[in-house]
């Protein structure tokens, strides 16, 4: 066949056949479930939950378990300076930048068995499905198991050059500092600057994750197409009044810090609810001094946060809260001050072309889907700073997470893993 047209038609029929073949490719749901169960034994709690906090003994055991499976699956496994586990699989075209995917296996204390493990084990499953079907992608692939996601996306943060020497000194749930924790899992905190990836180093990053909210479940939908991961601004709010005797101080001369704080908590809720959109605002923490039945509170410290996909909207809402706070402070003769003790989390948008491929995969597989935002932080949030990122959500039963009661059904996990696989294959075809 010297006729270029014939050659083209001949070759494209192979491409079409291959595409049909890969379109029919299915992951092994039972294998994912078995491995989630095996992993859940590492750091298992009597209540059915798990404590596999980053850098702990259980985390180390979990990592060893997964690295064993990754090696068996033929991946070239290495640990980077931040302790991230990276499993590489060669592509046909070594000139192409890798497509990366993955999640994390560390947990919060007294956590569950799905947040992190679902995306990690499904990533491995994807590799094995390709292996079993003798498929070699055009792009090299990287399965990344990020270190210490729950302690503030430390591993992915290091990958984009965000972890400061100061942050390395902070103590983690394991009892170790981040620096010592990184050493405990085979990294080297002194070399973090050497591992930083730049824009263009990856073709894409995709993460499959449980929703950690109740939207997919209550709306009876199978796949969440994440448009972005919300930004988070935290404020430590200090309200100072005057502590005084709860019996002898008449109501009209009190400077009750807790009463002012209560009004501020209500005001935050009203401000957040008075605008259209999916923004959320929470006061999750409160401490009162002196804190006795018979003493009017003199000082209250609140932990407050606002999240939204838009940085500007977060600050617009905060300015309204601040204005309400001024009114409350004036009326109650208290002072209310706001301080931001933590590094804010920047909102991160996922890449539209990847969203489209996730939707294409969901449609082709016959799954219902909806756009949504992620209210929680994820490694994808960091990775979105240097690569086109995509994120796939599956339903969380009861919307519960960070709890031993966290649960996602096997069939939903399988659906998510199949969407992950087809999205990756579609990206690879580009």
């Amino acid at each position: 066949m010297k006729n270029p047209l014939l050659i083209y038609l001949f070759l494209s029929s192979f491409v079409a056949m291959a595409q049909v073949q890969t379109n029919n490719l299915k992951i092994n749901q039972q294998r994912i479930q078995n491995r989630l169960l095996e992993l859940s034994k590492i750091g298992e709690l009597p209540n059915g939950g798990v404590s596999r906090v980053a850098y702990s003994k259980a985390d180390q055991e979990g990592r060893a378990y997964l690295m064993g499976l990754m090696k068996k699956a033929g991946l070239a496994v290495s640990i980077d300076y931040a302790g991230n586990i990276i499993g590489r699989r060669k592509g046909k075209n070594p000139a192409l930048k890798p497509i990366a995917f993955g999640s994390h296996i560390d947990s919060v204390p007294n956590g569950g068995n799905y947040d992190g493990p679902v995306g990690s084990i499904s990533g491995l499953e994807l590799v094995e499905t390709l292996n079993e079907n003798n498929i070699v992608t055009e792009h090299p692939l990287e399965l990344i198991i990020f270190a210490n996601e729950e302690g503030g996306t430390v591993g992915s943060g290091a990958m984009i050059g965000k972890i400061t020497p100061t942050a390395l000194k902070s103590v983690t749930q394991s009892g170790l500092t981040i620096a010592d924790g990184i050493r405990a899992i085979g990294g080297n905190p002194d070399s973090l600057p050497k591992m930083v990836r730049k824009k263009g180093d990856l073709t894409a990053f995709i993460e499959l994750h449980i929703e950690q909210g109740g939207i997919l479940m209550t709306q009876n939908q199978q796949i969440g197409v994440v448009e972005g991961i919300v930004g988070i601004e935290d404020w430590e709010v200090t309200i100072e009044g005057a502590a005084n005797h709860a019996g002898t101080t008449p109501m009209d001369i009190r400077r009750d810090a807790l009463l002012a704080a209560a009004k501020l908590i209500v005001a935050l809720n009203e401000v957040i609810n008075s605008h259209e959109g999916r923004q959320v605002g929470t006061v999750g923490k409160i401490a009162v001094e002196p804190g006795a039945y018979n003493v009017i509170p003199g000082k209250v410290v609140l932990g407050m946060e606002i999240r939204d996909l838009s940085y500007d909207k977060i600050w617009k809402l905060f300015r309204e809260v601040e204005s309400k706070a001024r009114e409350i402070a004036k009326a109650s003769e208290t002072t209310i001050t706001f301080r931001q003790p933590f590094v804010p989390v920047t909102p991160a948008l996922t890449a539209k072309p990847i969203q489209d491929k996730i939707i294409g995969a969901a449609k082709a597989l016959g799954f219902s889907y909806r756009y949504m935002q992620s209210g929680a932080g994820h490694d994808s949030q960091e990775m979105a700073q240097i690569a086109p990122a995509g994120m796939i959500f599956i339903p969380s039963v009861g919307g519960i997470s960070h709890s031993p009661k966290e649960f996602s059904k096997g069939v939903d996990i399988g659906n998510g893993a199949n969407v992950l696989l087809q999205t990756l294959l579609a990206l690879d075809r580009d």
Copy 2:
């Protein structure tokens, strides 16, 4: 003189002379101040305050100091089974029941030097003034220094038979149980039932005390005539919602226990302020679970109290709060439950005839005065259950008490001691 009329006129001129004499009697203000200063050295803190918590080493030293002075003043000093110090002075008519007066010298941790000591040292001063003027009253007198007032009027409670075997086991600020504390100051907790006084055992009980509020000072008045000591009802309020992720849980499906608690705190304040009167209501304590920036609070426990001179009014106010709580719970899909973990304090009214004598004394001495209620608990509250009771307040600078900043001016203390003396003499004349 056999003419009965002449005899009558002759004798009544002596009575009139004696009354003129006692009306001119004045305490020695400087001596009171000197002794307050001496007592303040026992348990002194670097910040100028004092920690002389009941049963502690400092309390024991303070008691020894005072007992020494009481003995020097010729009182027959004994310690009862509850550790109360009782100094007896004979009267002309041993058939009459004693007139008692006094206060306490124990303090709160990090407390001040006036709450308790003012009434105790002034009581001693009264005895010395009588001694120096060779006055023997008709009634026997008792100067009582009550043990452990700050820990819940334990000494006076024991005197009226209120201290239960269970209460004896509770641990005090000294680290000792009440039972062991009583032993440490020379009492015997096993014999408390033997010391109980009955109605009629005392002619009267009078207590001089600092106001612990800012009313006398801000209204520029010298003497407070206490109409009664408020009752206190405490509630532990538990609000249960659902802890959930602060990022992934939309505002409209939250069951935020802290938001509901905040609304309840505001509602309590509104209910208390919506009625005429001097009632007070306070939330002084709050604990939230799990208590993190990024978790919607699932559970809140509040410490709430309402005080008033009328028991019925306290409960009327509480019923209104309870009704608001039902509305809040319904709207927020939380549950709100009220529990009373402590023994309520019953309102105690002082005796009208004693109030009149206090006013008579204040007028005769040229002092401004006003009726008021005591918002704080006092030994007088217990004593009012078995004897006609009276209570005299003097101004607290800034309304501050239970604090190292607690202060009353020497002249105000002197005024109060003179009113105490004249009230006692008037009672003795009855």
